[in-house]
């Protein structure tokens, strides 16, 4: 599948092309957006993990990241706003042989879908949840999110955001997720390795990926795309097993990245078999 060095552009095939619905390209993501990078990292991890791709499904909610499922050339579900996790719960419990990946954004998973996230983690449903956190509602044009930093300007907080954002890994840890990691889209090798690990382990795995939204966040907060990437390079600290309470996203003091939680706990299905199906 890899292109030959002397091939013409029309003959060149990207090594991930077979996992992409190429007839749906061009995608909707803006120039400078980080979602595509995270998406391709996810595809690479899906291949390198060796999981059975015919038994692998991606579920998305609504939003820019929520469009991910629509580009994946596997069984894929683009559901309602915030409801990817309960949909994926039915899918996984309906057929436990499926590998289920939820690929969605911060607004979808943590504002409208926040309740479903904590319960999915509590039950330890065997799925991998990848949240692209761009700190804002991109699809609708830049409104404040549950992850937007204090004082940041958005179309609905034009004088600055009065509210504090969620610390997502802390919430995942407190809710019972058995694997929690955070990277930025600049840390692509580490991210791919963590997604691969999440795909091959059992239980509720959560990976937060910080990614720029230059169109809607950067533009209003005087932060150009490259500047955001510099922050990702210069103002991040890799600290595996960090205390989840220190994982708030504050680039002034530095944002901690790494693998924070990796613990064993029976999954929802294992517990159900043990308690309800044991006759």
């Amino acid at each position: 599948m890899v292109a030959k060095a002397d091939s013409t552009p029309s003959e060149q095939v990207h090594p991930l092309d077979h996992l992409i619905r190429t007839d749906r390209i061009p995608h909707i993501w803006c120039t400078g957006c980080g979602i595509g990078t995270v998406f391709s990292s996810c595809l690479k991890a899906m291949i390198s993990s060796g999981i059975d791709l015919e038994k692998t499904c991606m579920v998305s909610g609504i939003g820019c990241t929520g469009r991910g499922a629509g580009y994946l050339n596997l069984d894929s579900f683009h559901t309602t706003h915030g409801r990817a996790i309960p949909f994926a719960t039915g899918l996984k419990l309906g057929n436990p042989n499926l590998n289920v990946i939820v690929f969605s954004g911060d607004g979808d998973l943590f504002a409208i879908g926040g309740n479903h996230f904590i319960h999915g983690a509590r039950r330890n449903i065997d799925m991998t949840v990848i949240c692209v956190n761009n700190l804002i509602y991109g699809m609708t044009g830049g409104q404040v999110a549950a992850t937007t930093p204090v004082n940041a300007k958005t179309t609905t907080t034009q004088s600055g955001n009065p509210d504090a954002p969620f610390n997502l890994p802390l919430m995942a840890w407190a809710s019972g997720a058995t694997y929690v990691a955070r990277w930025t889209m600049l840390h692509i090798r580490e991210l791919t390795a963590c997604i691969e690990k999440a795909l091959t382990r059992s239980g509720f795995s959560f990976i937060e990926v910080l990614a720029p939204c230059p169109t809607n966040y950067g533009r209003r907060n005087r932060e150009k795309s490259l500047e955001t990437l510099r922050l990702y390079r210069d103002k991040t600290i890799i600290k595996n097993n960090a205390d989840p309470s220190e994982l708030d996203v504050d680039f002034q003091k530095g944002v901690i990245l790494g693998e924070f939680v990796d613990r064993e706990r029976p999954t929802c299905i294992e517990n159900y078999d043990r308690t309800c199906r044991a006759f």
Binding site: A69, G70, D75, P86, G94
Partner: protein, 381 residues
């Protein structure tokens, strides 16, 4: 461990009969949330499903419950939830997702009096129009309405069968009175119960189109993991399932989800007729109020009045052709329902001015008595 079909005579509540109907129909997944007066359906399913290898999960709310049964349906399972008014409201968005993605599933609404929290422990029939139009956009849906424990059992099976056949959510609109009432329910032998499963696609997987309709207007449906690389979206989509943001795609998709129900309405619409041949006044009713109406009809007949009764088993799509035909020869309709006139307005619309249309209804909390219906019959006879 008991089998899926509990053949024999039982003395059980309507809610339990509903759960046993689901078991007999082949339901293997229930995602629920407690709510009076539907809780017993979920409780019973939580005991019964594991006995046959199925899965029960109590979700965090009704939004999640509805989402989970759609997911389970795409995993290949016959799936179901049950609720009452407030939960039914929360399920509406994802009922729309099931309509748009043509996902078979069954939603039971054991109706209580509303609006809002209303009278949680007391019956009503106030959600009939919500069943028709509760989710946004224009669509067709199937809703059934049983009037006894036995009918709840039977119609739950029918609900699954119609849902699988037409790839549409089917709403079973029961009410608190029959849901909580204990009655005799006869469950036949498994071999006598007809169950239908969704048609599966055949032919080459690389040429498969997720929404390419078969002859009856309904497309075959693969499950996740079958190797068809399906894409399922609530966005307006083409026959491949791909989002297409055009006026033409919107018309084509909406046309398909509307026509598969309308064109098959004669297979879907079920009514029972009592003394309609010579009836001057026809009672129209459903659910618990159908039993009131039947009693009122017998009272009227014993007084020498030519009163008939049309019992609606299918509410949506509405039996408008039947009403229109009856309007040619009857003088008046009296719709009997526990609300201020929802199906009454449908009867009026279908009669197109050819017969007078009256309502016997109230705001809910108790049943309508045969005497109240009788009073209206005497008033207009």
């Amino acid at each position: 461990m008991r089998p899926a079909v509990l053949t024999g005579e039982h003395y059980i509540t309507g809610d339990e009969a509903c759960a046993e109907g689901a078991m007999a129909a082949g339901c293997m997944f229930f995602g629920g949330y407690p709510i009076t007066p539907a809780t017993e359906v979920a409780e019973h399913m939580s005991v019964r499903l594991p006995e046959v290898g199925g899965t029960f999960i109590q979700m965090e709310d009704e939004i999640a419950a509805m989402a989970s049964i759609i997911g389970a349906s795409w995993a290949g399972q016959k799936s179901m939830t049950s609720t009452s008014g407030p939960g039914f409201s929360l399920m509406m968005e994802n009922i729309g997702l099931a309509v748009c993605t043509e996902t078979p599933c069954v939603v039971v609404n054991v109706q209580r009096a509303g609006p809002s929290t209303g009278l949680p422990t007391m019956g009503a029939q106030g959600d009939m129009m919500q069943a028709r139009w509760g989710s946004h956009g224009h669509y067709e849906i199937i809703a059934l309405s049983p009037s006894s424990g036995q009918e709840i059992f039977n119609q739950t099976i029918t609900a699954f069968n119609l849902s699988e056949k037409y790839r549409v959510p089917v709403l079973l609109m029961t009410d608190e009175v029959i849901g909580h009432m204990s009655e005799k329910v006869v469950i036949p032998n498994a071999s006598e119960i007809r169950t239908i499963s969704r048609p599966k696609p055949k032919g080459r997987k690389d040429r498969f189109k997720l929404y390419q309709p078969a002859e009856n207007g309904v497309a075959p449906m693969p499950s996740a993991g079958d190797g068809y690389k399906i894409h399922v979206t609530g966005l307006t989509h083409d026959e491949r399932g791909y989002p297409v943001m055009t006026v033409e795609a919107q018309a084509e998709m909406t046309d398909r989800i509307v026509r598969k129900i309308r064109d098959n309405r004669h297979d879907i619409i079920m009514t029972d007729s009592y003394n309609l041949e010579d009836a001057e006044i026809i009672l129209v009713s459903y659910g618990i109020s159908a039993r009131t109406s039947l009693a009122a009809m017998h009272m009227a007949r014993s007084s020498g009045m030519k009163v008939g009764f049309l019992k609606l088993n299918t509410i949506w799509p509405f039996a408008e052709e039947k009403i229109a035909e009856l309007a040619q020869r009857a003088r008046a309709f009296i719709t009997v329902e526990i609300n201020y006139g929802q199906i009454h307005l449908e009867v009026m619309r279908s009669a197109t001015g050819r017969a007078d249309c009256h309502l016997v209804g109230h705001a809910g909390g108790t049943v309508i008595t045969p005497e109240q219906v009788m009073a209206k019959i005497k008033e207009i006879y």
